[in-house]
């Protein structure tokens, strides 16, 4: 049961932290239509995180009955940095529009094959969330792929900005495919998806899009990891400080 809880929280945290980062763009996008599009993606990810948190809360409450049962909000708002399991990439500051869309592309290119497999999970709830989310992710992937191509192939400036974004983010992509112990256990238990098995499909898609964007796949390099096991960058503390402010400042209040 603990494996299922940990695995579900990993899926939830990934979605929430990226939703939170993307939401920072709302009202500040480069074009009104794209402001709306990125907000949509943020809303989808937020919705996914809520489905996963609600499920995790249900599992936690069944496992550890308590006078203060876990809820989607207690999981999002009352855990500290070390309890969050999201990958490091999702907590990084947004950078410019190019870096934001490239990160979204990297993440969607992971979520897409992940949910394609997860919709056949032996766990019916995970399967259902994956199936529902897959429709959303299909759009995120198309939207972010198009933007990576557009910016890579656009002007000299946009091309060089995308090269910089690629350099900035690449070192965080390895973590996606390095399974944490709870991911390995989830695979063994039969409901999880083997992250290592998604790498080839991810790399193929990324190579194709980068090529179309006239960008070069970076050479293999050191990959930063740790987020999946709660060892984060300094950025996450600030993300949480902002996000959790009201719940922390006014404990036990209802909003």
């Amino acid at each position: 049961m603990q494996t299922l809880i940990n695995y579900t929280l990993y899926l939830a945290d990934n979605a929430l932290i990226l939703a939170q980062r993307n939401a920072e763009w709302c009202g500040h996008g480069p074009i009104l239509e794209q402001d709306i599009a990125l907000t949509n993606i943020s809303l989808d990810l937020l919705g996914q995180s809520r489905s996963f948190y609600q499920y995790a809360a249900q599992l936690i409450n069944a496992e550890h009955p308590s006078a203060m049962p876990a809820t989607e909000d207690s999981l999002a708002y009352l855990r500290d940095v070390f309890a969050f399991r999201n990958i490091l990439m999702n907590e990084l500051p947004n950078g410019d529009w190019g870096q934001t869309v490239l990160r979204q592309f990297f993440f969607s290119a992971y979520q897409f094959p992940l949910f394609e497999r997860m919709k056949h999970s032996s766990d019916a709830t995970l399967a259902a969330i994956a199936e529902k989310s897959l429709k959303e992710v299909t759009y995120h992937l198309r939207w972010s792929s198009e933007w990576v191509i557009r910016l890579g192939d656009g002007t000299e400036e946009s091309h060089s900005r995308m090269e910089k974004a690629l350099d900035e983010l690449w070192t965080y992509t390895g973590e996606i495919f390095e399974p944490a112990p709870y991911e390995k256990a989830a695979v063994e238990a039969g409901f999880g998806v083997d992250a290592t098995s998604l790498k080839d499909a991810w790399m193929e898609r990324v190579s194709n899009i980068l090529q179309e964007a006239t960008l070069t796949v970076p050479a293999p390099r050191w990959m930063q990891t740790g987020g999946k096991e709660g060892k984060h960058s300094e950025h996450l503390g600030f993300v949480l400080a902002e996000m959790q402010f009201l719940q922390r400042a006014y404990p036990n209040a209802t909003w």
Binding site: L16, Q20, A23, E24, C26, G27, H28, G29, P30, I31, L32, E33, Q34, D35, I36, T39, N40, S42, L43, L46, G47, S49, R50, Y53, E72, D73, A76, Y77, D96, W97, G98, I149, R150, L151, D153, G154, T155, E157, S158, R161, E242, M243, F245, L246, Q247, Y250, N252, A253, T254, W255
Partner: protein
């Protein structure tokens, strides 16, 4: 046909409640008034995203975050419909936005006030959207077709926003003593600026008379303001809160709530650019626009390259 005859036909249509459509003849002053008013409305939606956007990352629950994010996104959508409506009058979105960024065009002064607590998100929904709806409901029947239709779409979403805002305050009003204080403080700060949203008193409103003849406007500023006060003075009782006006009292004879004098110095001061956030709001918009310049240029360059490649392929084939 002479201009006089065209004007006569135009006014007849208006009098008969026939909508004016983009390709119809219209007096230049009618067109100008509409461009000014619709673009102001559009800018208000876009600038209005900022004070509320200020609380998206700090919303106190995931549900509230989702609702607020969707709400601010709706405002961007309203801005889009309205910019499209100004385009039907021959003014491009670029031109309209340039006028906002240069400070030439105005937007609703209400958004020059800061959002300091979560209570402000409730107060904006309840009071600011509430005031805006009264105006927009009237504008659903405005004489210019595209503007009327844009307002019909907007009103559907706005009434949902107002309910959400009221609900935020309702929860606060039933919460801890600190939450009740947050609720009352937000109402205190947003009440008077909300009343100012209806504009100057009837005698002092410059564009009103002609706009009424053209049926762009169908109710006076003071009429709408009174309607608003009557509505809010009742609703505030449900919250168990008070409005910050010692002169507020119900008049049995007129069936209206009488209210105190608005601070018109403050009103004009904020209109002139001296509100707490005028500079900040405009700077933020300009910065977003400037930071997006390379993105827009890249999108254009890419689409030109693509078109050229397609043409090249067609030639080869």
């Amino acid at each position: 046909m002479s201009v006089q005859e065209l004007e006569k036909i135009f006014q007849q249509k208006i009098d008969q409640e026939i909508k004016i459509e983009p390709k119809d003849w219209m007096p230049e002053a009618y067109r100008k008034t509409l461009v000014r008013q619709i673009s102001q409305h559009a800018h208000s939606e876009i600038i209005g995203m900022l004070p509320e956007g200020n609380w998206i990352t700090r919303a106190p629950s995931l549900k509230r975050k989702a609702i607020l994010l969707a709400k601010v996104q709706d405002e961007a959508g309203h801005g889009l419909y309205l910019y499209a409506a100004t385009e039907t009058l021959g003014t491009s979105r670029e031109q309209t936005m340039d006028d906002l960024h240069s400070g030439k065009a105005k937007y609703s002064s209400i958004f020059n006030y800061p959002t300091l607590t979560w209570g402000d998100i409730g107060a904006i929904g309840w009071l600011v959207d509430g005031a805006a709806i009264l105006n927009q409901v009237m504008l659903c029947r405005t004489s210019y077709g595209p503007y009327s239709r844009a307002n019909i779409r907007i009103c559907k979403e706005e009434s949902f926003h107002q309910r959400q805002g009221f609900e935020i305050l309702l929860v606060l009003s039933q919460g801890t003593p600190e939450q009740k204080a947050i609720c009352q403080d937000a109402i205190n700060r947003w009440w008077w600026p909300s009343l100012m949203m209806f504009g100057p008193k009837d005698g002092e409103s410059t564009h009103s008379e002609q706009s009424t003849i053209w049926k762009i406007k169908r109710k006076s500023n003071d009429e709408l303001r009174q309607q608003f006060v009557n509505m809010i003075a009742e609703q505030v009782k449900i919250l168990g809160m008070t409005l910050p006006d010692a002169d507020l009292k119900y008049n049995e004879q007129t069936k209206n709530y009488e209210f105190g004098e608005i601070d018109w110095n403050e009103f004009w001061n904020v209109v002139k650019g001296n509100g707490p956030c005028n500079k900040q709001r405009l700077d933020t918009r300009r910065k977003a626009h400037e930071n997006g310049a390379w993105v827009r240029a890249a999108a254009e360059a890419h689409s030109a390259k693509r078109a050229a490649r397609k043409q090249e392929q067609a030639k080869v084939a």
